[in-house]
Structures are given as structure tokens and as C-alpha cells.
Amino acid sequence: MTKAMKGGTSLSRANQRRENIAGYLFMLPSLLFFVGFVIFPMGLCLFNSFFDYTMTDFRFIGLSNYKELFADPIFQTALINTIVIVVVSVPVTCIFSLWVATIIYKMHDRYTSLFRCIFYLPVVTGSVAVTVVWKWMFSPYTGILNYVLKNLGLISKNINWLGSPDYALGCIILILLTTSVGQPIVLYVSALSNVDHSLVEAAEVDGATNLQVFWRIKWPQIMPTTLYILVITTINSFQCFALIQLLTSGGPNNSTQTIMYYIYYNAFKLSRYGYGSAMGVILAAIIAVFSAMQFKLAKSDNG
């Protein structure tokens, strides 16, 4: 994108003052909301994590929350489950969206947008509506999934999908996948449409196969989009909450416990605000590390 910053390398002092005043006045409303309801609570979250903070107490305890956290077996389970969710859902989401996008971006506009809408539907439908209908479909007795799978001969008796520690996490990941591919598909379709066509044509004239054209020309050009998609999908997967709260509440036997749900459980069910805040800080740190890693990885791949 071009920045129209022509000539204005040094403004006169009076002009600069006027720019400052105007600039900050325009920024004022958004800064007010941003500082008041994002930055301030973020700082407070970090601050509270050093306190034994409950309904009745507010006492400085240094790093004790963090120490307790790393010794807490449920937190470890939650951490492992969260990582499983991320490690499974992020690559699957990216590959699936890219696959869909490569098929639909060449279609007639009308069909492109039809498919884009269909894959975006679960996102717009809303996490709660999606979750309750899946709960019904997964239901052991009246659920359609058991019925269909039995008729197809894939299972012999009804399975209690969400009530079994073997299947519950898999079910959660499945639903999460349906709600996360919509946005990457939109992004990939747009990125693929913007690939430089003269390069593609030149390669084709030189006799490159479709696969070669894809890997050598399109893939490097959509790399920034891939990177962006990796980051947002990772963040989304880390934050998966409604599904868990409404379907399993972290059960059975903590098999679907995630960090996000465990934060909620500690802070809002047990009123352990300090402990919950410490977990929030750790979660934020983990996400930052993951994003930075993907950034690095994709950069070195590209370079």
C-alpha cells in the first residue's frame, strides 16, 4: 500500500504542534476505550496474578500462584489438551482451507461466493447455536451420528461420544474445525486471486505442471496469507471456550479440560481471581511464543 507522505519530511514547529493536537483529538475516543477496557485490565491482570485474590482476600504472595500452577496436575492436563487441540486443528484448518480455496477461486464468481458462504456459515451461526445442535447430534440415544454410523456399519452399538474420555476431545476438535475454516478460506481465495498472473502464464508456457506452478509460484506469493492464517487459527484454537463450557464442562474426568476453561472455572466458579489471572498471563505468554515461532518458521521457509 502506498503511503502518501510526499515531501512532508520536516514540518515547521507550529505545524507539528497543530498536527499533534489534531491527531490526538481524533485518537481520543478510540484511545479512551482502548486504554480503559483493554490496556488497563491487561495490566491489572498481570498485577493481580501476584496476589492471593479471592472473594474475601487480597494479599501479596509474590510468585506463589505461578508456583502452584506448575504443580497443579489439572493445569498440566489442561495445557496438554490445549496443545493437542492446537497441534491438530491448526494444520488441518490451514490445509483444508487452502485445498478448498484452490478449487473454488477459479470458479465463476457466483459459485465462489456460494461456497465461501457455506463454509462461513458455522461461524456466523454463532458458537452457542452450533454447539447445542452438535450436542443433539452427538447424543447417545437420539443423536443422528450414532444412527448414521450404525447404519453404515461403522459402529456396532451406540457410543456416548461426549461422555467418554476417549472420544470427547476428538468431538470438540471436530466441531472446532467446522467453525474455523470459514475465515481462512475467504483469505486464501483473495490471496490466490491476487497472484501475479504473468508469472503463472510464463511458467505454463515453459511447460510447468500445475503442481509445479502451485509450489514454485503461487505458494511463495500466498505465504504472508498463510502466516497470518496460522497465527489467527492458533489464537482461535487456544481460546476455544463455548464448545467446552456447553458440551462437556471440561469433563469427563478432565479429558476436555483446556486452559481457557480452567481459567474460567477458577476465576468465575471458585472465585480464585489471582490464580486465574496467573493462568491468563501464562496463556498470553504461550500464545505470544507460538505466534513468534510461526513467524520465524514461515520467514525462514520463505527466505
Binding site: M5, V133, V186, T225
Partner: protein
């Protein structure tokens, strides 16, 4: 969820109008791979629409049909009993609350973000690079982790358990400013200079020159904010708990926890909660898509 269009990254492709005449593909021959993939894609697409189909048909099924061991694929004798039951609950109020929250969040976000985005893109005030970096970094952080202190803050401001406790944090979320900065970058500097020379003040420049030029961006942001606020279950769950301030998402969740096996009623709630927002999405789909793609582009 999708609210998280966060930018942590890229130096991206030019934003061209998608699909400006790349019809060269018509010369390609259709390979078996393409045929198979399209067929597979169509099957998957059907599976993706199935939950919605199941919500809608389920909401018209009788209790008997809902609990049948052999699923009723289509309610041949549709009943409205579920909706009658739904509206015996305060479903109207849930809808009203939801719309109120979404509209307010949308209006405030659009005003604050278009002003802020314009300033970040076009005003060379001291500290703007730092401010912008902070906005971008904040987008990459999980929104939910700030909910604990936010709850306390709202309690302190005596806003807890009011709809404003959901509206205000939504407006504060930095994505809007980021998106509007992207759109404002395209305003030619010459135009702003010309306005200045003609003696237009800052306010007039903004309302008469900038605003009309970033209208498409505001459209994208408006629809984006509306849909995401509608579906922001976690924030609503934390901030709202007395019956008169519940939103439709919370209403459905409540139905589920209170009468977990009355799937007909729950589906009626889910239909009420999702159909309006789907219709809005389909109507403004173009704006929405543009918002998503622009949000990914870093100038």
C-alpha cells in the same frame, strides 16, 4: 472465534479487486483430479450446512419426532409448539437486548475507529508509531484473559450486569482502529492538502472529505462488529447474569442447562439466535468479505 482477526504479521499482497478477469483458466483441460475434488467439495459443503438444517427442521419437530430412535429427517407434520414455548420465556427481551448491544457497539466502534484510524494513517503526530504498535500487539493477545479484571472494573463502575458492560469493552477492541487505518491509507494526501488550502478546518475535512472516502470501510467494520458482538458468548456470559439483561446466546445456553433434553425447544432458540444474523450476513456478504481481507493486509 472469528472475532479474532488479529494481525500479527504480514507484509502482504496488494489489495486488488478480487478476480479481475482471470478467466485464462478456461483454456485448461479438466483433469480427473479436479472432477473428484469438486465432487468431494460438494459433499463436504452439504455436511457443513447440515447443522443449520438440523436446527431449523428440529425446531419444527414434535417432542415425539425429536426423541425418535430413528431420526426424522424432515418434519412432515411441522409443529409450532416449540416456538410457542420459546416465547413463553422472555425470548423477545433476549432478542431486544442482543440487538441493542450489537447496534450500540457497532455505532460507537465505527465512530471511534474511523476517527482513530484516520489519525493513525494521515496525521503525523508524535508517538503515532508507538501507539499503532501497541494496538497491533494488543490484537494478538487473547481477549478472554482480561475478563477477570474487566469484571471487577465493571463492578466498580456500577455497570456489571448491564448491557453497557458488554458494549464498552467491544468498542475498546483495537481491530476496528486497525481496519480503518488500512482504509484511510488510500486517501490521497493531495486531497487533504487541497482542503487545507481552501481553508477547511479539521472537522470539516473529516466529515466532508475523509468520511465519504472511507465509507466502504465503515460498512465493513459495521457489519463485522455487529456479527461478532452477536456471537461473543464469553463476554456476555461473564458480564450478564440477571434474567432481564440476558442476550439470545445466553438464553439458548440457559435453555440447554435447564431443560437439556427438550431439543425441540432448544433448536427453536438456536434458530431464533442464528437466522437473523445469517440473513444479515448474506445481505452484507460483500462488505464482510472485504473487511476480513483488508484486516489481513498490513500497509
Amino acid at each position: 472465534m472469528s472475532e479474532n482477526i488479529k494481525n500479527a504479521a504480514p507484509q502482504v499482497h496488494h489489495f486488488k479487486k478480487p478476480k479481475s478477469g482471470n478467466q485464462d483458466h478456461s483454456v485448461h483441460q479438466t483433469t480427473p483430479y479436479q472432477v473428484v475434488s469438486v465432487i468431494v467439495l460438494i459433499i463436504i459443503a452439504f455436511l457443513f450446512t447440515f447443522p443449520l438444517y438440523w436446527i431449523i427442521t428440529g425446531s419444527f419437530k414434535s417432542a415425539q419426532a425429536v426423541n425418535a430412535r430413528i431420526p426424522v429427517w424432515f418434519p412432515t407434520e411441522p409443529v409450532t409448539a416449540n416456538y410457542v414455548k420459546l416465547f413463553e420465556k422472555p425470548a423477545f427481551m433476549w432478542m431486544f437486548n442482543t440487538v441493542f448491544v450489537c447496534v450500540m457497539a457497532m455505532i460507537f466502534t465505527c465512530i471511534a475507529a474511523s476517527m482513530g484510524g484516520y489519525a493513525l494513517a494521515k496525521k503525523k503526530f508524535t508517538g503515532r508509531t508507538i501507539i499503532f504498535s501497541i494496538f497491533v500487539c494488543a490484537m494478538a493477545l487473547p481477549k478472554q484473559v482480561i475478563l477477570i479484571p474487566l469484571l471487577k472494573e465493571m463492578a466498580f463502575l456500577k455497570l456489571h450486569n448491564t448491557l453497557w458492560a458488554v458494549i464498552l469493552p467491544t468498542v475498546g477492541w483495537p481491530f476496528g482502529v486497525f481496519l480503518m487505518k488500512q482504509f484511510s491509507e488510500n486517501i490521497p494526501g493531495e486531497l487533504l492538502e487541497a482542503a487545507k488550502i481552501d481553508g477547511a478546518g479539521e472537522t470539516r475535512t473529516f466529515t466532508q472529505i475523509v468520511f465519504p472516502m472511507i465509507k466502504p470501510g465503515i460498512g465493513a467494520l459495521a457489519i463485522f462488529t455487529f456479527i461478532n458482538t452477536w456471537n461473543d458468548y464469553f463476554l456476555q456470559l461473564i458480564m450478564l447474569n440477571s434474567t432481564e439483561v440476558l442476550t439470545i446466546s445466553l438464553g439458548i445456553a440457559k435453555l440447554q442447562s435447564e431443560m437439556s433434553t427438550d431439543y425441540g425447544l432448544i433448536m427453536a432458540g438456536a434458530a431464533l439466535g442464528s437466522i437473523p444474523i445469517i440473513v444479515i450476513f448474506l445481505m452484507f456478504q460483500k462488505f464482510f468479505t472485504r473487511g476480513i481481507t483488508m484486516g489481513a493486509v498490513k500497509g
